[in-house]
């Protein structure tokens, strides 16, 4: 067995300071899971379904496809970091209202991609939503209700900011 030297790293996850020891080959997703951020899902492990989507320094990334060590010093936001206490984020509220979560396993990824989209484009067209969610595989919903939810979330967030 090759000897590994653990890597010490610091970052913030959902606003909390973290001090992690990770393995050189450990992915960000594995490290999140080891540190009890389990909302982000492992589905394909190859970056082809976006179920593991998180925000890293404001950019949408697939946590299964990057090394944990690459997140040194970063600010990571996962699906668990969206709600404020018991109050869901409007995107989560919209997904719940629209029936956009069936089994729910792809839902964290869809929600985080929607979050990334609405950061850049607060009033997206349906085509823009579809393009933004184009890499997210969902096997339950046929995407109808997730797309509805993303559009609904945009409206809810606009109304909230007015």
């Amino acid at each position: 067995m090759p000897e590994h030297t653990d890597i010490e790293m610091r970052l913030t996850v959902n606003g909390r300071a973290q001090h992690w020891r990770v393995q050189p080959g450990e992915t960000l997703l594995e490290a999140l899971h080891h540190h009890n951020f389990k909302g982000t899902k492992l589905v394909c492990g190859t970056g082809d379904c976006c179920a593991c989507g998180v925000m890293l320094n404001g950019e949408s990334v697939n946590a299964c496809c990057m090394l944990a060590a690459q997140a040194e010093g970063a600010e990571v936001l996962t699906v668990e970091g969206l709600a404020r206490g018991a109050k869901l984020h409007p995107i989560q509220e919209a997904f719940a209202q629209a029936g956009a979560a069936q089994c729910g396993f792809c839902t964290p990824g869809l929600i985080m991609r929607t979050y990334a989209l609405l950061q850049e484009q607060p009033d997206p067209t349906e085509a823009e939503v579809r393009a933004a969610l184009g890499g997210n595989i969902c096997r339950c919903t046929g995407y109808v209700k997730p797309v509805e939810a993303a559009l609904r979330a945009a409206k809810m967030m606009q109304q909230a900011s007015e």
């Binding site: 719940a96 209202q97 046929g142």
Partner: protein, 829 residues
């Protein structure tokens, strides 16, 4: 850009308070907030990680396994080979006992029968260590000749993959055990209703075709996963992502040679199943490792394992002949399905049978013949998959029906309307003849097929002008119809127990398994409606074999109909108990009382139409010492005085609960209900599709779809339309893009989402879903099933639309650009 709409214009009946409404899922908040609710998030102290060594050969004997190097690796706790586990022949098909499935598996065997078959199990302290240990296990194989094609496998002299199945409980009856081991035939059926040869002789036109359907993967986003551990009573507990907790408990006991009493299966939230989890898979792996190490063990399949050593939809070759009169009357069907079950039998016989049984009954005819052969090959194992044989059968049938319409010069919609079954018809296939008397098992007491076809055609604009040619683009339209069951006729049992709490809430403990389809919400709505309470008063408890009532599990479109009816019966029993207490308190006969919004009302027959007499409030006071004369018994109520702000004129369920737990009527109000029936009401479905075909690239783009489903009653229209949209999308992949491909030595070439194309948001057509409600008299509030039937529609509708666009008929799924171009070369424009 496309838009997508759902028709939610389902009529809400004024007499229903909860059923029929688009209630939010009872588990919505955890699902959208990343709460740890799945098996993958279940952690235990000292938990080990199990991994499986898979065979690199399609067919081989294991001559030797040396695990010493793996065991020497620090952190590796166990390596199990065939010598270390119980040697019991069993099946993993999640079916009631005795399964109609051969007992052809050992947990680990000395022989491997496909690339991916199990060779050894490892438990180690980390997943990486377990993976490393797999590479240190040295196996010596004697490679055997393999056979991959079912037609080759049936020939004399083909490699024999299994020995006869003498261990099967039905051995010798041709009812589940291996039919002909020498020719690799798992199961065989030869069924005839009426005289097919005579009817064919009468036919003026016979339309014949050979249809091929491919192996596809379920791609449930959550893989198979379970955690096994010994509890404080030394019983083996398994937290498992399963559709069939009770069948798994029984089969796990069998495979591990343990008494059933030693096993408990707990189902957490499940991240999708689609049939892949109607099967015991990793539970005995985790169980054996947990027993060997005395530590909790988690075993999880990777995506690559799911797509090479999981379960798949059966590839089939289906030959179909239809005999017709020129006026459009169907005289006879003659279908032969050859199903490829892969290396083990599991659901092979029942799925291949279903390709005929679930489909041919859609049309009236004088005679029907259905022949099925299910064949072993050295390929990945086929299993249950949403639709369960019907998608295969309907691709053949509904393509062939389209060919019939064109051969007769009839409109495909009108031709279907002329021949499809009607309300009141008997299922022509599901019959038996005893002493020359035909006994029918299934009657279509509800049938909204005509309405599905007509409303679907209207919404789609069937028959309206279409710009058919635009440069190298050709456009066309297609239709298909379909049906399914609601449960397996005569092979179901499901329901719940319901317990009342002191605040007037109710625990509903069901054996039904919510795997993402939302059945916990549906069952909660049924319970709330039947009890007369709001949805917030219902507390669902998912399946746990120690706690919930026995239930066959979530498959065969059974949950809403079977378990839902059981829940309704349980709720009615609890309501009866409540009203007995209320009657005593109110000095009013129980049959004159009812519950509405958690308040006891007098049943008053004078109410306006549609409201079953809930007008008159009875309880004049519920506060002790404050009750008027003549309301004997109200003094006994304990709680109301302690409930500030309570209107003194209502007797609520909370009052009843307090009275029964602390007052003079002490008892735990609790009831159970279960349901079993010989019937299986059919949901009906009409699919319309419009396509654009690029004649230069062969690319097919589906531009519009209309999906019309008769589900009896939509308990929850949002969940129902979600089922339709999801099934249709899955079937778009089946029609056009998905196929698990094997290389020449039987290895899966595309075990991942890169080379296995699942539809995305960018591939989706505009889609309209119409819910048609023809209430089913035997179902809970008129409901029958919804989740499977829509998956039957897209593939034939798209093939028919491609024919409409190009004039070429593709009878081979998936309809790839290569197949389109090849077909166009045969018939150039």
């Amino acid at each position: 850009m496309t838009t997508t709409t759902s028709d939610k214009a389902v009529v809400i009946r004024p007499d229903l308070a909860v059923v029929g409404r688009a209630e939010q899922r009872v588990d919505a908040r955890p699902l959208v907030s990343g709460a740890p609710v799945y098996a993958a998030e279940f952690e235990m102290p000292n938990m080990l990680y199990g991994r499986i060594l898979h065979s690199p050969h399609a067919h081989a004997n294991i001559l030797n396994i040396d695990a010493s190097k793996a065991l020497a690796l620090p952190g590796v706790h166990a390596v199990l080979t065939w010598r270390d586990v119980p040697r019991v022949r069993h099946t993993t098909a999640g079916q009631p006992y005795p399964e109609l499935s051969p007992y052809d598996m050992y947990l680990l065997d000395k022989r491997v029968r496909y690339v991916g078959d199990w060779v050894a199990f490892v438990a180690a302290e980390t997943p990486a260590l377990a993976e490393e240990a797999l590479g240190l296990i040295e196996v010596t194989y004697e490679v055997l000749p393999a056979v991959f094609d079912p037609l080759e496998a049936m020939k004399d002299g083909a490699p024999q993959i299994h020995e006869p199945d003498t261990h099967h409980p039905n051995y010798g009856t041709h009812n589940g055990e291996i039919y002909d081991a020498t020719h690799n035939i798992v199961g065989h059926e030869d069924l005839e209703r009426g005289d097919v040869d005579a009817a064919m002789a009468e036919a003026e036109v016979i339309v014949e075709g050979e249809y091929r359907v491919q192996r596809v993967s379920h791609c449930a986003l959550e893989p198979h996963i379970c955690v096994a551990y010994l509890d404080g009573y030394e019983r083996l507990n398994v937290v498992s992502s399963t559709q069939v907790p009770y069948h798994t408990r029984r089969q796990l006991a069998e495979a591990m040679a343990l008494p059933i009493s030693k096993i408990r299966i707990i189902k957490p939230r499940v991240g999708g199943g689609f049939g892949s989890k109607q099967e015991m898979l990793l539970e005995p792996v985790a169980g054996a490792l947990a027993l060997a190490t005395r530590q909790p063990v988690r075993v999880e399949y990777s995506r690559a394992e799911e797509m090479s050593a999981g379960r798949f939809r059966h590839p089939m070759l289906i030959r179909l002949r239809t005999g017709l009169k020129r006026d459009g009357t169907i005289l006879a069907f003659d279908m032969h399905a050859i199903g490829n079950t892969g290396a083990y039998g599991t659901h092979g016989f029942t799925v291949t049978r279903a390709a005929g049984h679930k489909t041919l009954c859609l049309y009236r005819a004088k005679a029907y013949r259905f022949k099925a052969d299910v064949v072993y090959t050295n390929t990945p194992i086929a299993g249950a998959f949403r639709g369960y044989g019907a998608p295969q059968g309907f691709f053949a049938l509904e393509s062939n029906i389209d060919e019939c319409a064109h051969a007769l010069g009839l409109d495909p919609v009108e031709f279907r309307k002329q021949n499809h079954v009607q309300k009141g018809d008997y299922d022509p296939i599901d019959t038996e003849t005893i002493d020359d008397i035909v006994i029918h098992h299934r009657r279509f007491n509800s049938c909204g097929l005509r309405e599905c076809v007509e409303r679907g055609a209207a919404a789609f604009g069937w028959g309206t002008p279409l710009k058919r040619v635009e440069g190298h683009i050709r456009r066309g339209r297609g239709v298909a119809t379909a049906m399914q069951g609601s449960g397996v006729a005569g092979f179901e049992l499901g329901g719940a127990s319901i317990k009342m709490n002191e605040d007037g809430s109710f625990n509903v403990m069901t054996g039904a398994t919510d795997i993402g389809q939302g059945s916990d919400t549906i069952l909660a709505q049924i319970a709330a409606e039947a009890l007369g309470v709001g949805l917030d008063k219902i507390l669902m408890h998912g399946s746990d074999t120690d706690i919930s009532v026995f239930d066959y599990g979530s498959y065969a479109s059974s949950t809403t109909y079977i378990s839902g009816k059981g829940v309704q019966l349980a709720a009615l029993e609890v309501k009866r108990q409540i009203l007995v207490v209320a009657a005593d308190l109110l000095n009013t006969p129980a049959d004159q009382l009812d519950i509405h919004d958690s308040v006891i009302w007098a049943a008053n027959g004078d109410g306006p139409a549609g409201t079953p007499g809930l007008q008159t409030l009875v309880a004049p006071a519920t506060v002790p010492g404050n009750d008027p004369a003549g309301s004997a018994g109200l003094q006994t109520l304990v709680a109301p005085a302690s409930l500030p702000g309570k209107a003194p004129t209502k007797l609520t369920l909370a009052d009843i609960a307090i009275e029964t737990l602390y007052g003079n009527h002490r008892q735990q109000i609790m009831g159970k209900g279960d349901f079993s029936i010989k019937d299986s009401p059919a949901p009906f479905y009409a699919q319309f599709a419009e396509v654009e075909v690029d004649t230069e690239t062969g690319q097919v783009r589906v531009t519009r779809m209309v999906n019309a489903l008769d589900l009896g009653r939509a308990i929850n229209p949002t969940l129902a339309s979600g089922q339709v949209e999801g099934a249709v999308t899955m079937a778009l992949g089946y029609a056009l893009s998905e196929e698990i491909k094997l290389d020449e030595v039987g290895r899966v070439r595309n075990p991942g989402f890169v080379d296995y194309k699942v539809f995305s948001t960018l591939d989706m057509p505009q889609m309209t879903t119409i819910l048609v409600e023809d209430p089913e008299p035997t179902g809970p509030f008129g409901a029958k099933s919804a989740g499977e039937v829509p998956i039957n529609g897209p593939a034939p509708a798209i093939a028919n639309a491609i024919y409409d666009a190009l004039g070429v008929r593709i009878r081979d799924l998936p309809i790839t650009p290569e197949k389109i171009l090849a077909a166009l070369d045969k018939k150039p424009y």
